[in-house]
């Protein structure tokens, strides 16, 4: 048996010596499929590793967080009071997300190194060995904590910002960070680390973002509440909303795109394996006639598959390294912008991922092998070739039935789906429905074309050839269809999101200038001829359901918040909100409160105010794209009563048309520094730039899956051409010109591509609708109108046509020589 198997293996493998391209395609399919999936798995694993470290700061536990009950920041004097009261393990943290001079997003973290409770022992406690052994040991800390200070920039961040050692990063408002030192510590992720003293000096403040503490005993918690409960608030980070849970949809989305690539890769493998086994049919028959038992043939093919799988998984894992390294910064940007999560932009690798890739390669190969193997060992060559010509078959009709059933199932299951995974299951139903419906639609279009063009023999021929080419191209075209549906769905989602965000920014940032100096009084603006309107904005931060909730005081006549901004409300809600009520405070809430905390219209939230715990009745909701926090809008008059000590954050200034230059001059004349006001236009531009960077990952994965589909089409074309070469030689022998030849040859491909695009369009729109109204709501807590913009779809279709054209031209270039060669053998066949 072993000898027979080995002889069989040697004989069947000889095929690849003659057809190295087929070997290449098996490998390309496996490597691309495994590589893309593994890189996505690696990205997810890296992000999850970052979440696991979310309650740590530079290797020190930050399980407890202390914030000010009234202000958004904690005064340094409060921190000193805490230390003096015996809370020596409490340490201050400043966290800021800022834009660099050229608009790149920067995360800065600062703390007091001397206060960090290293390995449970504070430096001040006298055990200096732990500190000496820490990354801050030796003279590192003195350079970090003494002028001119140092900014520790992780290498990946330095690469992203194009910063070299010694260089000072310049912020958008003109401030400079200390000289950069390229090094990073545990849990630093993509944050730039500077000493607290340096941060307080750079940002010209005496307040920190929050105070952090390692686990506190119950006695300590009680003592804290007794001594500081009136001013400060203690919250447990482990009870806050889980980051991993929050970001689940993005990871599921990435995994789905990875799996899509894998499925498309499997299609390529299937095509290549199918062709190679079919081409070896005669060899296998001869082997069987010569006494090779069926088990030996199956064993030989199984060994061949094993070799393919191991090679594919190895190369796929290797490919995943540069790929995930290239994609990770985009993912990190997404995490930071959408969820406010700091994630390292360096991917991590673990051996588990290699085994996963191997398992995946085997699964893909088994999926790709089952059908061709059954045919190769059980069906005769003649029956096999006859199958390709029999179209449409009952199988195609049955498949169409399955497709319709899947669409029906999606419709029925839509109201039931309530989790991210169930939402993605709905998306898969749409994708597979499309795949199942494709063959019958192509064949019906071909039949219709033949009927309509029955007067024109060449058109009739070209339409008829669709049914001959389609069996060879169907898998590649199914792969293209999957890619296009996903592409249109995601592109529409991102496009809708971008448009909604733009409109939202237009409204929310409708003021032309935003003055950040809260101390400026309204009197300063009176009499200025360039000012159309000036409104103040005040914000108080509290905590609700484990998340930060911002209460925003808004002038009722401010142009950036009006009845049009309310998406769902009770009748006359805006009027009722504007006038207020004595017994209960009325607010509008952001959608996040509705979808993530289950708050409904008419519900009452209880929040801390300076007048004690107060009820807030929710009158309606507003869109609040991209906000990671809950938010309430309260009329500013009432806000000033409830949060009297909160300093205004600034002013929104609306200026008369063509008065921008005068306004800038006027603001300077009011004694404001250029760093104390921002042009909202710049903010809008920056916000949209950040948005585009956030969704770069989607664009990159879309492009990659399209590339994989293109490879699938190319390999299928080559296989189809090889399969039909003698027929093509006949066309030439009858005197057909190359022009006519390529017209008849190319028409079916482009017709099928057109059908694929036509099927992908409605299904892609359905997909984007599901993404926005199901997945988005479940995971982010926002809805938005579905906008199907023609431009990106037309662009996508043009790209697809060009990709298909490129595959066709590449495959056809090889054809001319091959057909000429086949021409000489035609008579001998």
């Amino acid at each position: 048996m072993t000898r027979v198997t080995l002889v069989t293996l040697a004989t069947t493998l000889a095929f690849y010596r003659q057809n190295p391209l087929q070997a290449l395609f098996v490998l390309v399919g496996l490597v691309l499929g495994c590589g893309l999936y593994t890189s996505v798995a690696q990205i997810n694993a890296s992000a999850e590793a970052s979440y696991a470290e979310a309650d740590q700061i530079l290797g020190v536990s930050a399980q407890w967080r202390i914030t000010d009950r009234v202000s958004t920041e904690v005064a340094v004097s409060d921190y000193i009071r805490l230390r003096r009261a015996g809370f020596t393990r409490v340490y201050p943290v400043i966290e800021k997300r800022l834009a660099s001079e050229d608009g790149a997003l920067i995360s800065i973290i600062a703390t007091d190194l001397l206060a960090l409770p290293f390995i449970g022992v504070g430096v001040g406690s006298g055990d200096g060995s732990a500190f000496e052994n820490s990354p801050f040991g030796g003279d590192s800390w003195s350079r970090l904590t003494q002028p001119p200070y140092e900014a520790w920039v992780p290498s990946q961040t330095a690469a992203r910002l194009a910063v070299t050692g010694g260089q000072q990063i310049r912020l958008r408002e003109g401030k400079r960070l200390p000289p950069a030192v390229i090094r990073s510590q545990a849990q630093q992720r993509d944050q730039i680390f500077i000493d607290l003293g340096a941060a307080l000096s750079i940002f010209e403040t005496d307040r920190v973002s929050y105070l952090a503490a390692p686990p506190l005993t119950e006695t300590e918690q009680r003592r804290f509440a007794d001594q500081f409960g009136d001013r400060l608030m203690l919250s447990n980070q482990s009870k806050a909303l889980n980051l991993a849970q929050l970001t689940q949809s993005l990871h599921t989305n990435l995994t789905a795109l990875g799996l899509l690539s894998f499925v498309v890769g499997t299609f390529i493998v299937f095509n290549a394996v199918n062709f190679s086994l079919h081409a070896r049919q005669q060899t296998l028959r001869v082997l069987r006639d010569l006494g090779a038992v069926r088990q030996a043939i199956v064993a030989a093919i199984a060994i061949e598959s094993l070799v393919w799988a191991v090679t594919g998984a190895l190369l796929g894992t290797l490919l995943a390294q540069p790929l995930s390294a290239a994609l990770m910064p985009a993912v990190a940007a997404t995490m930071q912008n959408i969820y406010g999560a700091s994630v390292s932009s360096l991917p991590v690798f673990n051996t588990g991922l290699f085994w996963e890739a191997l398992l995946l390669a085997f699964t893909g190969l088994i999926l790709a092998l089952v059908l061709p193997l059954l045919r190769a060992t059980a069906i005769s060559s003649d029956e096999f070739s006859a199958r390709d010509k029999t179209l449409p078959s009952r199988h195609d009709f049955a498949l169409a039935g399955v497709g319709l059933a899947l669409l029906l199932l999606t419709y029925v299951c839509y109201p039931i789906a309530s989790s991210v995974v169930q939402g993605f299951a709905l998306l898969s139903l749409i994708l597979f429905a499309g795949v199942a419906l494709l063959p019958i639609i192509v064949l019906l279009v071909s039949a219709l074309g033949r009927t309509v063009t029955r007067q024109y023999w060449l058109a009739r021929w070209a339409f008829a050839d669709v049914s001959l080419q389609f069996p060879h191209l169907r898998l590649a075209m199914m792969a293209l269809l999957l890619t296009l549906i996903a592409n249109i769905g995601v592109t529409s989602l991102v496009g809708s999101f971008r448009l909604a965000l733009t409109e939202w920014l237009e409204t929310r940032l409708s003021a032309d200038f935003y003055v950040t100096a809260g101390g400026v009084e309204i009197e300063s603006f009176t009499g200025q001829d360039w000012i159309r309107a000036a409104h103040r904005r005040t914000i108080a931060e509290r905590s609700y359901a484990g998340r930060t909730i911002t209460v925003v005081g808004i002038d009722v006549d401010a142009p950036d918040f009006g009845p049009d901004n309310i998406i769902d409300s009770t009748p006359d809600a805006f009027a009722r909100w504007s006038v207020g009520d004595v017994g209960v405070d009325r607010v509008f809430a952001n959608e996040q409160l509705r979808y993530l905390a289950g708050v409904e219209i008419g519900d009452t939230l209880e929040l801390e105010t300076e007048l004690g715990l107060r009820p807030f009745e929710v009158l309606g909701f507003f869109h609040d794209y991209g906000n990671v926090n809950f938010s309430l809008h309260l009329p500013s008059e009432r806000f000033e009563q409830l949060y009297a000590s909160v300093e205004p954050q600034g002013w929104g200034i609306w200026v008369h048309q063509n008065k921008h230059a005068a306004a800038e001059l006027g603001l300077s004349q009011l004694g404001l520094q250029p760093t104390q006001w921002v042009s909202q236009r710049d903010v809008r531009t920056l916000s949209l730039a950040i948005f585009d960077r956030t969704f770069a990952i989607t664009g990159a994965l879309n492009a990659l899956t399209l590339l994989v589909a293109a490879v699938a089409i190319f390999s299928s074309l080559l296989a189809a051409y090889q399969f039909r070469r003698s027929e093509y030689a006949l066309w030439r022998s009858l005197g057909m010109s190359w022009f006519g030849f390529f017209t008849v040859l190319g028409f079916p491909m482009f017709l099928i591509t057109a059908v694929v695009m036509a099927v992908a369009l409605p299904l892609g729109i359905v997909l984007s609708w599901l993404l926005i109204h199901k997945i988005n709501v479940i995971s982010f807590g926002w809805t938005m109108p579905v906008i199907v913009a023609a431009e990106p779809i037309v662009f996508l279709f043009v790209v697809v046509v060009l990709v298909v054209l490129a595959a066709f031209v590449l495959a056809s270039t090889r054809q001319q020589a091959a057909v000429n060669k086949a021409l000489k053998n035609l008579a001998g066949e």
Binding site: W461, E727, G735, W738, L826, E829
Partner: protein, 220 residues
């Protein structure tokens, strides 16, 4: 009609030089028919490919209808074949997606020489008019070869070349097909060359030649 003048053609096979034609000359007039016989590997198919412009000569001249086809480039050869030559193969080589009618009309349409009355006449003569709408997969071997004959004659070429046209058919069908081929070619005024192993098939043609060691000898 068909002239080969001092044609040389050889190729290498695992180090050995095989001579298909050595200073080979041959002439066939209009309306004549000839059987080209010879042992396997003698080069019959290669010689036919040379006459059809599907293969090239090492030296010498190949004239079809007084045109030096050995001097034509690929595009000119394709056009020449389209207009002047009809080809019939052992394995029929019909286009599976086209009906019998469209298959038969294919070359005539490519050449812009499709004549519907002549097409009906051919179908009637070959006894295949009831098969016009069928696809190749719905036809027997004999029926497929008759469609292939119709295709080779429909553009009324000056030269028809058939390579083992009955090689895939049983004896009774073979006789019917060859009789139809010869009479149809003669009716169309075409010169006919048939590559065959069979003396019985050769007996239907006006001349027989045997190819061996690179030269042609007439068989009486």
């Amino acid at each position: 009609m068909l002239k080969l003048k001092q044609v040389d053609k050889s190729f290498r096979d695992r180090g050995d030089v095989i001579h298909v034609a050595r200073d080979l000359s041959w002439y066939l007039g209009s309306g004549e028919s000839a059987a080209l016989m010879g042992e396997s590997g003698a080069g019959k198919t290669t010689l036919m490919n040379i006459i059809a412009g599907l293969d090239t000569v090492d030296s010498g001249e190949v004239l079809v209808d007084d045109v030096r086809i050995d001097r034509l480039n690929q595009a000119e050869l394709t056009a020449f074949r389209r207009n002047h030559i009809g080809l019939i193969f052992q394995k029929f080589h019909l286009v599976p997606s086209l009906s019998a009618w469209d298959n038969a009309a294919l070359q005539a349409r490519l050449a812009g020489a499709f004549d519907i009355d002549f097409a009906h006449h051919l179908f009637d003569m070959l006894g295949i008019d009831h098969l016009a709408h069928r696809r190749p997969s719905q036809l027997s071997g004999g029926q497929q070869q008759r469609i292939a004959i119709a295709r080779a004659l429909m553009h009324q070429p000056q030269l028809v070349l058939a390579d083992e046209p009955t090689g895939n058919l049983d004896e009774a069908t073979s006789n019917t097909v060859i009789e139809l081929l010869v009479s149809a070619a003669l009716n169309a005024g075409a010169t006919l060359v048939v590559v065959t192993h069979s003396a019985s098939i050769a007996s239907h043609l006006s001349h027989s030649f045997r190819l061996g060691s690179g030269s042609l000898t007439s068989v009486i």
